[in-house]
């Protein structure tokens, strides 16, 4: 699809553009973050000056034999000021930390909601799914995620750049040639740091890979669902073997990286030893010559040492920003993905006669960019589901049944052909209204950690219609169980919100999702394998109720249990993306082809019994 072409060229924004993105974001959601950052930058740059001026002032006072009172006043004032600057800087930093992290949660929420505003086919497509996880990592991961690193890295870069300028001024006062020498040393340092950064970056991918492998083994070991298999098959040695193997992988990389760390750090130490030696000698001669006082000696020496420190810090901030910018590019790319248009359409479903008739006209559809390239499911599918008809969809796994359902309910758009409702192209209706037409039970079970009411209505608690909810539960055969256990609409499901939250068994979950579909009471009902987890009695109960709750609805039933076809008006037998047979159970049985063979295969054991018994 078009979104995939766009994805190939993920925009790599400049670091400044990424920083501007966060400025816009925080300006909108929490401007205090920006205010705090600003204060932190200014105070952070001033702070080191206090540290080098304090000894100078002290020595000057002693040298000049200043009166005690005056000295105390100067030093006391200076000390109090530095105390305030220091304290305010740190507390602003802490405030910023809390606020930007809260908005990081907000960003995660926005990103998740964004994924729901995409078309489902987009959300599901391989490229976008990959991007999704990259974005997730960029926001998740606490202080080490892209968002945190960008915020803190930017502030640190500014602080150090500003300090660098301030110190430069101090040093330029001392001597321009000295300043020039220091600048050259800083440049050498820059060169060394860049090499170091590049090396680290070259390892990053491998490190992430090794980390992923380790976590994967960790998850495999800790997954309690596998605990039975682990014991029965004696997998302990296998697992611990894999664990040690991945640990070795991590160790090898850590050794490589730390060895380089040590090497580059040693280079830096040699450089700073040479610098210190030079500074000591130079300042010593200057003091001897009388052009520098003892106090200034201390000041300048502090400035020389500090100066290269800022260069180093600037470099590491820059390295952090370079690494983090990627993650931010992912975030921005995802948030900019085009969304599904759900609102516009010239027609409205409330004008339609319901239940509707739905027609697939020459529908072609293929999955894009799967492992085996594009995979075509339908070439030319033609099918009309008549108003109020009960349709059964059968066929082996992979015949295209579930894809058909996804096309039907609007999760996918046909590549070719059209889907019509009462003869009108469905794209003339707002997608939002199209969704309202369907009550679907999908194969996967989604139970949200919210209240029973919210789960049934899939809406905010204040909009839950309790009476309707109870009716739906009753039809799905859960009312009694719930009432026995004292469960009401306000009870929470799963253990996340309360310790006595409701946990349903597999069969109960299927019934619950059926209840959700019944609550919605939409004109088209689609059930995709709704009885797989049910025992025979419960299964036959669902069958018994099916005709009742599908009354006056257009309904589609998918099941491997062919018994379900008996109460359908028409059976569609699918094979490799095409409809191979169509008709009532009796017609197809008389025809004696694919469907009949399948049915006989499944029923032979039952029938045999019936014949003999």
């Amino acid at each position: 699809m078009e979104s995939q072409d766009r994805r190939q060229e993920l925009k790599h924004n400049t670091i400044t553009s990424d920083i501007r993105f966060y400025i816009r974001y925080y300006k909108r959601y929490e401007p205090f973050v920006l205010v705090f950052c600003g204060i932190e930058i200014i105070l952070g740059a001033l702070l080191p000056l206090f540290m080098i001026y304090l000894p100078k002032i002290a020595i000057d006072l002693v040298e000049q034999k200043a009166p005690v009172g005056h000295s105390l006043l100067v030093l006391g004032g200076f000390g109090t000021l530095s105390m305030l600057v220091c304290g305010v800087k740190k507390s602003v930093e802490a405030g910023k930390y809390n606020l930007y992290n809260t908005q990081r949660t907000n960003l995660m929420g926005m990103f998740f909601l964004k994924s729901l505003r995409l078309g489902y086919a987009d959300q599901e497509s391989g490229e976008i799914k990959k991007l999704y996880w990259k974005v997730y990592d960029a926001i998740w991961g606490g202080d080490w995620c892209s968002v945190s690193l960008m915020v803190n890295g930017t502030v640190n870069l500014c602080v150090n750049a500003l300090s660098f300028l301030l110190y430069s001024t101090v040093l330029a006062y001392l001597s321009v040639p000295v300043f020039a020498v220091l600048l050259v040393l800083a440049l050498i340092n820059y060169g060394i740091s860049m090499r170091h950064i590049r090396y680290e970056e070259s390892l990053r991918e491998k490190k992430a890979q090794a980390q992923k492998h380790f976590q994967c083994v960790e998850n495999a070991m800790g997954n309690v669902y596998g605990a039975k298999d682990i014991r029965i098959y004696g997998m302990k040695d296998w697992m611990t073997g894999l664990r040690d193997q991945t640990l070795r992988e991590l160790r090898k990389l850590a050794e490589l990286s730390k060895k380089k760390d040590a090497f580059y750090e040693r280079a830096g130490l040699v450089l700073s030893a040479a610098r210190n030696l030079g500074a000591y000698a130079y300042l010593l001669y200057q003091t001897r010559a009388g052009s520098v006082s003892v106090g200034e000696f201390v000041l300048y020496f502090g400035a020389v040492t500090g100066f290269s420190g800022f260069v180093n810090s600037m470099m590491s901030s820059l390295a952090i920003l370079r690494g983090a910018a990627n993650g931010t590019d992912y975030i921005r790319a995802y948030l900019e993905l085009p969304e599904e248009n759900r609102k516009s359409g010239s027609r409205h479903i409330d004008r339609l006669t319901l239940p509707p008739e739905i027609t697939f006209q020459h529908v072609g559809f293929s999955y894009k960019n799967t492992e085996e390239g594009d995979k075509t499911v339908f070439w030319d599918l033609n099918l009309t589901i008549h108003a109020g008809e009960k349709l059964a969809l059968v066929g082996v796994n992979g015949a295209g049944k579930t894809t058909l359902v996804k096309l039907l309910c609007g999760m996918y758009e046909p590549d070719e052909g059209r889907i019509l409702i009462n003869g009108i192209d469905r794209n003339e209706f707002p997608r939002e209204e199209w969704y309202q037409l369907f009550s679907i039970v999908f194969q996967e079970t989604l139970i949200l950690p919210f209240t029973v009411g919210e789960n049934l209505a899939m809406d905010r608690v204040e909009r839950v219609d309790e009476e309707r909810a109870w009716t739906a539960l009753e039809q799905a055969g859960l009312k009694e169980t719930f009432q026995e256990q004292g469960i009401d609409m306000q009870s929470y499901m799963t253990k996340l919100m309360t310790e006595d939250g409701i946990e349903l068994s597999g069969g109960q979950k299927q019934r619950f999702l059926l209840a959700r579909a019944l609550y919605k009471n939409a004109p088209v009902m689609v059930l995709d394998e709704p009885t797989a987890a049910l025992d025979p009695i419960a299964e036959s109960e669902v069958y018994d109720h099916y005709s009742q709750f599908s009354q006056e609805k257009t309904a589609v039933f998918i099941s491997h249990r062919l018994a379900s076809t008996k109460f359908s008006d028409r059976i569609i037998m699918m094979e490799d993306g095409g409809i191979v047979e169509m008709g009532t159970h009796e017609e197809l049985m008389d025809a004696g082809s694919a469907y009949a063979r399948m049915f006989e295969m499944q029923s032979s054991y039952y029938c045999e019994e019936n014949r003999s018994g």
Partner: protein, 623 residues
């Protein structure tokens, strides 16, 4: 469980015990880490004091007009020595970082490793669940075991600073005593008061911050105000992109919004956030202010001493530097120790899990190896309740598995079918009755050897994101020919042939991006191949065809005899037609074995449970 567990007051003795415990455990993981780190830190800490002494020497040299050549020699020698000390310190440090990262990973997965060997019956027990919940909460804040390393190293470093500062600054005490004027003493008193106050206020805010951090919302109202599911939905347990279908068609967007971004705008959440920011700001303010005050105060006092008496410029720098470092290190030590105490306390739950002992009786009897597979297993009046449950999952079950026989177990959901399998493989021990293998209670056998008797395909079997062959052989080394044959027997041969990397193909994409996604039916076939590969005398299949379509199901049925061969087999299925492969059928109802016999016998009993189940399904096929 008590709320706000980490905030409860603990006697000092308990804190010490916690710290000792966690440090001992960490030390056990890597015996060279702490000693080597200690040496590295000692060297590292000595550097600023050497520099301080050097500065003092230079400044005094300037005032006393010492010869420049002599001074340069001393300076050069000192700078070189300092550099060498730094070399050594950082060399050790970087090497130890590798060790620390390894320890972090190893420790991090100790709880998972524990899951491999813990009694199965305890994994799901309320006690372990509670402990895991505790671990999750304990690790909500802080850096896990790294928090322990960092705070302990910090405390060591500060302690070395105290010593270094004391050694370098000791002469200050002499000056103070000799020429301490009233001004000096009162300055000292003020500085101390400022320091103590700042430290106290800092602790106060830290405590307030902890109250916010470690507070566990336990009322539903509070949770509704403050619980944000953004993280959970976006990527943790609750996430599955497939849920997007439900959310779209059921119009659940608003509901998702309410529980993610909207919570952040709730009054409760905002208040909590502002409170947190305020507490942290308070803590940081007083911490930083105390540091700055120590620095400024030290100069103030030393200058006052210098002005009152005779003290050289060099000594001013030296003593003020030492003094301020001493004060900072004292506050730092206090803080690191309190952090260590908290970090250690947060590890107690993890250690409790790691040290949890198995309770199941471990027999020592070897299981006799028989090539004819003549093992007889009998249930004698077995009753069983799941840990923490009130209802019996199995009640007074007596049943015999005859060698080579195929037994089917049928019944409604929750009737005890799977429980019976779990007891049979001794994942649980029954509370009443016994299970016998060749007449001997299975508890008396070595568990490891007993487990070898069974190949099981559970309903919720698990495959792992590792190579296909390893999944079948459950080992890093395997017999490729045999693995291939087993996969073919399980009807997976065709798919295997289509795989580029064959047996080396990774399953799923978690470990390897090149891995392949498999459908539920394919996974089931691989699980069956794994069962075949094991070649155990008993083969137990729990709903092995649930995810299969009728054709694939038929294939498995047809192969059933080939798969099980002469082995004793137990087969659970909701599709009663499949039971007809079995000579004997056991019908379970509400935990009891209500019927036992061949299909013919059972279906003849019109009032029996089997007939009811059978006809519920058969009616649709009666055509």
């Amino acid at each position: 469980m008590t709320a706000d567990y980490l905030l409860m007051k603990l006697p000092l003795r308990e804190h010490c015990k916690n710290m000792r415990k966690v440090l001992k455990y960490a030390h056990g993981l890597d015996r060279c880490y702490f000693p080597a780190m200690g040496a590295s830190l000692l060297l590292k800490v000595s550097v600023p004091y050497m520099e301080l002494m050097l500065s003092a020497y230079i400044l005094d040299g300037i005032s006393t007009h010492t010869g420049i050549r002599e001074m340069l020699t001393v300076i050069t020698a000192s700078v070189v020595v300092i550099m060498l000390v730094q070399f050594l310190s950082q060399a050790i440090f970087h090497r130890m970082e590798v060790h620390r990262e390894q320890m972090y990973c190893l420790y991090g997965c100790e709880t998972q490793t524990k899951m491999l060997e813990m009694d199965y019956s305890r994994i799901d027990s309320p006690k372990v669940k509670e402990l895991k919940d505790r671990i999750r909460k304990d690790n909500n804040w802080g850096a896990g075991i790294n928090g322990v390393f960092w705070s302990f190293n910090g405390a060591m470093e500060n302690l070395f600073h105290l010593i270094g500062a004391a050694v370098v600054g000791l002469p200050a005490a002499g000056y103070l005593l000799r020429s301490g004027t009233a001004v000096v003493w009162s300055l000292l008193a003020v500085l101390m008061i400022v320091q103590v106050t700042a430290v106290c206020l800092r602790m106060h805010f830290r405590r307030q911050g902890d109250c916010w951090r470690y507070h566990e919302a336990d009322t539903v109202e509070e949770k509704e105000e403050t619980l944000c599911f953004a993280w959970d939905f976006a990527g943790q347990e609750s996430y599955n992109y497939k849920n997007g279908k439900d959310i779209r068609t059921y119009g659940g967007y608003g509901l998702m919004e309410r529980w993610t971004t909207e919570v952040l705008r709730h009054k409760g959440f905002r208040n909590a956030m502002v409170r947190a920011a305020r507490n942290d700001a308070g803590e940081e303010f007083f911490g930083a202010a105390a540091g700055a005050a120590a620095n400024g105060g030290a100069y103030l006092i030393i200058v006052a001493v210098a002005l009152a008496g005779t003290i050289t410029v060099g000594n001013v720098v030296r003593l003020a530097g030492a003094f301020s470092r001493f004060l900072e290190a004292a506050a730092g030590t206090l803080q690191d120790v309190s952090r260590l105490a908290m970090a250690a306390r947060q590890q107690m739950s993890t250690l409790a899990l790691i040290h949890m002992e198995n309770e199941m009786y471990q027999g020592r009897l070897p299981v006799e190896k028989r090539s004819d597979g003549a093992y007889r297993i009998a249930f004698r009046n077995v009753s069983f309740k799941y840990p923490g449950a009130e209802r019996y999952a199995l009640k007074n079950v007596s049943l015999e598995l005859v060698v080579g026989e195929k037994l089917a177990i049928v019944g409604m959901n929750g009737s005890g079918k799977t429980t019976m399998i779990k007891l049979l493989c001794r994942l649980y021990d029954p509370q009443e009755g016994e299970i016998l293998l060749n007449g001997v209670d299975i508890r008396k056998y070595k568990q490891e050897e007993y487990s070898r008797l069974f190949s099981v395909v559970f309903q919720d079997f698990m495959l792992y994101p590792f190579p296909l062959a390893q999944n079948v052989a459950v080992s890093g080394s395997y017999d490729s020919g045999l693995v291939r044959k087993c996969l073919e027997d399980a009807d997976f041969g065709e798919r295997l042939a289509s795989m580029e990397k064959g047996l080396e193909t990774y399953l799923y994409k978690d470990y390897e991006d090149e891995g392949i996604e498999i459908s539920g039916g394919e996974a089931q076939k691989i699980a069956i191949a794994r069962a075949i590969y094991k070649e155990a005398p008993f083969i137990l299949l729990d709903e092995p065809t649930a995810a299969l379509d009728p054709l694939a199901e038929y294939e498995i049925y047809s192969n059933f005899d080939r798969i099980t061969g002469t082995k004793t087999a137990v087969y659970i299925s909701h599709r009663l037609s499949s039971c007809r492969f079995c000579e004997k059928i056991a019908v379970f109802h509400e935990g009891e074995l209500v019927q036992l016999g061949s299909h013919k016998e059972l279906v003849a009993d019109r009032s029996g449970k089997y007939y009811e189940l059978w006809s519920a399904q058969a009616q649709y096929y009666g055509g």
